[in-house]
Subunit: 141 residues, 2 copies
């Protein structure tokens, strides 16, 4: 049967014991068997699911996405189109977030390039963070 404790399940799947209990509490996985001591014991199928979850997390899927992916994974009669749709939606999300980070990075690199970075106080980076005065004093009609 190959039943393992939560620490062993953690070591095997790479999911922390804390997170395993958490996944159970939010219903992402179902409650496992307990020994008489009320210790959780996991069987291979459950370890498999935990491994699945960890890989999904590694790819940045949210719990909500993972919930759906797990359900499709368990369903032998699923359509691959549903899985692909979830994945592609996530790809869009990832690309959008990456683009936002890169835009920030580009701006900062440009500013840093024109900052001499020595003991003098004048700094184009701080200047760029400085809001234009009109935006503020323009508020007294």
């Amino acid at each position: 049967m190959n039943l393992v404790t939560i620490a062993q399940a953690s070591a095997i799947t790479g999911v922390s014991a804390k997170m395993i209990r958490h996944y159970e509490s939010i219903g992402l996985i179902k409650a496992p068997m307990r020994t008489e001591n009320r210790y959780r014991h996991y069987c291979e199928a459950e370890l498999h699911e935990l491994g699945f979850i960890r890989r999904s997390r590694d790819l940045g899927f949210s719990f909500e996405d993972i919930r759906q992916l797990l359900s499709l994974w368990r369903d032998k009669a699923r359509s691959s189109a549903e899985v692909k749709a979830i994945a592609l939606r996530h790809v869009q999300d990832l690309d959008q977030k990456a683009a936002a980070l890169e835009a920030m990075s580009r701006t900062l690199k440009r500013l840093a390039a024109t900052c001499h970075g020595d003991d003098r106080p004048d700094c184009p980076i701080l200047d760029a963070l400085d809001p234009p005065a009109e935006a503020i004093s323009h508020s007294d009609p």
Copy 2:
């Protein structure tokens, strides 16, 4: 003097009233004047700081970074090197996060490309999320 209420400060600086109060509570900005009604009133210098904070947030700086940037900004005798160091450290962080997101996106795009995405159940995406069986059954010494 040009004193404005928190809603006006929010409209001018683009920082929500909720966040303005929050910034105050965590000591990022100092507590503003109050009228007899205990309403907060902001002067131009304070609006300026809020605008500075919003722009910093737009560039993805954390509150801790902003705390330092604000302190340098207020310090007329600062060295631009300190500002540049914070900015470049943040650039590294942004690039690293963007790279991580892109790696996920690449993997998913590759998997999705080989998934036919129709009514059939076999799906390379789910296969990739499936942990190898050895990793699991390998746990019975």
